[in-house]
């Protein structure tokens, strides 16, 4: 499997604060990788480095074999806080990423309607962000990244603010999209069970300065659905193992 993203000895400091120690990892094509780690260990920072949004001092990051210096059109980023423009409607926010890139085509009406449907936003296309719930705003942000049909989807706790039910539903949609379009996904999350449920691999990070202390391959059969969390004993084993790694007992 060829690496889509490869990080070699990446280090990052903000002033005197060393945030990332020595991060090395490879992420393959169409892999679903989750990143787990304590708050403040540098997960968001790592994602920003991969996206080419922040410069760094040590090591190197390559995307499709080329050094990352600026954001690439093939990467979609879903930020930890939803970044919607308050003056645009849901529809225009969803299409913003496409509209800003002259090389990208707006999706067909049917494809757009399907996206809206998938996100559970049907009927809200003409609403403005302040008329949405926090969770709906997150869904619009995810939809904006998906509308660009990126090869790589970088997601920073996109489901953090959602209730368990919506979270499960969106997780399953995410899996479906990932399987259908063969995207590479890097997902930062705080939920161990979510990481196990979704991922091919889970990268566990240490306290700041963050390094990857364990790279856990999740060998659960696919397609998965939330029932594995109850029915597959192997699932429980993974959760226990990751909890121990993260110091949760």
């Amino acid at each position: 499997m060829s690496a889509v993203i490869s990080m070699a000895s990446v280090g990052k400091t903000f002033g005197d604060l060393r945030v990332l120690g020595d991060v090395s990892a490879e992420i393959g094509a169409a892999e679903f990788v989750s990143v787990l780690g304590p708050s403040g260990c540098g997960k968001s920072t790592l994602l920003r480095l991969i996206a080419g949004l922040t410069s760094f001092e040590d090591g190197s990051i390559c995307f499709n074999g080329a050094e990352v210096t600026t954001p690439a059109p093939e990467m979609g980023f879903v930020f930890q806080t939803s970044n919607l423009l308050p003056w645009l409607t849901v529809r225009d926010n969803l299409l913003l990423g496409v509209d800003l890139d002259a090389a990208m085509q707006r999706p067909s009406d049917a494809a757009f309607a399907e996206l809206v449907e998938t996100l559970g936003l049907t009927g809200f296309e003409a609403s403005h962000p302040h008329q949405l719930s926090g969770g709906m705003r997150h869904r619009v942000a995810i939809g904006q990244a998906l509308a660009r049909n990126p090869q790589v989807l970088l997601m920073d706790e996109p489901f953090g603010a959602l209730d368990a039910l919506t979270r499960d539903r969106l997780n399953m949609e995410l899996l479906r999209i990932w399987q259908r379009d063969r995207k590479t996904v890097v997902l930062v999350t705080h939920s161990i069970s979510e990481a196990v449920l979704l991922s091919d691999r889970v990268l566990v990070m240490s306290e700041r300065p963050g390094t990857i202390v364990e790279d856990v391959r999740i060998d659960l059969p696919r397609p998965r659905d939330p029932s594995v969390t109850r029915e597959d004993p192997a699932f429980g084993d993974y959760v226990v193992r990751l909890s121990k790694l993260m110091g949760v007992s």
């Binding site: 954001p71 059109p73 930020f79 970044n83 423009l85 308050p86 003056w87 990423g97 800003l100 403005h128």
Partner: protein
């Protein structure tokens, strides 16, 4: 059925001002203050009605000066502020120049401007412009600087060009602040025009106030003052009206 709180509030404020007017009316009558010093409101309203033709005509003169002074202040102020915002050179040259000019008492400039531009529309238009210009510059600068950092980063992630970031992010984010500046500038433009008319003019409401009070015609002075105030209020609210189109300030 009890009155809603809004109508109740309205009644209270109408009642308050009615009471104030009555206090003035009867205070003046009973105390025997000469009407050329302080006329009662009833006399002022009567004067306003009687002299409505000249007052309206002079109002139109002043309105024209204010309107163009304000429009030019916005039309020049916003782009100049953008220039100051983006150009380091402009920030070091144009900006301090404006700050220095703003520090000159504009009332003191009025006689010079009349000497340079005459008794007509131009000198008053310039006075209105001078009063309105600076708040627009300052509010535009503040608005342009207020784009949230996370949105800027988001636009970078979406590979937006500098032009796209400016028009689709920075400008809309600045609009609420620019409108605030316009709301401050509008009444100032009225003051500027009236000051200009005080100093050198053959017409306009400022001139009317000056000539009426000079000839002891206090009722007319008050009536003209009311006209200026009304004009200023109407102009203010016609600027504030645009707020509904940039409702996202609250979001």
């Amino acid at each position: 059925m009890s009155a809603s709180p809004i109508t109740r509030d309205r009644l209270i404020s109408i009642g308050f001002f009615l009471l104030l007017g009555l206090g003035w009316e009867f205070g003046v009558r009973w105390s025997g203050v000469q009407s050329y010093l302080l006329p009662p409101p009833s006399a002022i309203l009567a004067e306003l009605w009687q002299s409505r033709a000249p007052i309206l005509a002079q109002s139109l003169v002043t309105l024209t000066e204010v309107f163009w002074g304000f429009i030019i202040a916005v039309a020049l102020g916003v782009p100049i502020a953008a220039l100051i915002f983006f150009s380091r050179t402009a920030k070091r040259t144009v900006y301090p120049l404006f700050v220095a000019l703003q520090s000159i008492p504009k009332i003191g400039l009025a006689p010079l401007i009349v000497v340079w531009f005459g008794y007509g529309l131009t000198s008053k238009l310039i006075m209105a412009f001078l009063f309105a210009f600076f708040p627009i510059i300052i509010s535009t600068l503040g608005g342009l600087a207020s784009t949230p950092a996370h949105l800027e980063e988001h636009f970078r992630a979406l590979r937006a060009s500098p032009m796209q970031s400016f028009w689709r992010l920075r400008v809309p984010a600045a609009l609420p602040s620019i409108l605030d500046g316009c709301k401050v500038a509008m009444p100032l433009a009225v003051i500027g025009a009236v000051v200009g008319e005080f100093v050198g003019s053959n017409d306009g409401l400022g001139n009317l106030i000056l000539t009426a009070s000079g000839s002891g015609h206090t009722k007319l002075t008050f009536a003209a003052l009311i006209a200026v105030t009304l004009m200023s209020l109407i102009l203010f609210y016609s600027v504030a009206y645009w707020e509904r189109f940039i409702w996202w300030r609250a979001a």
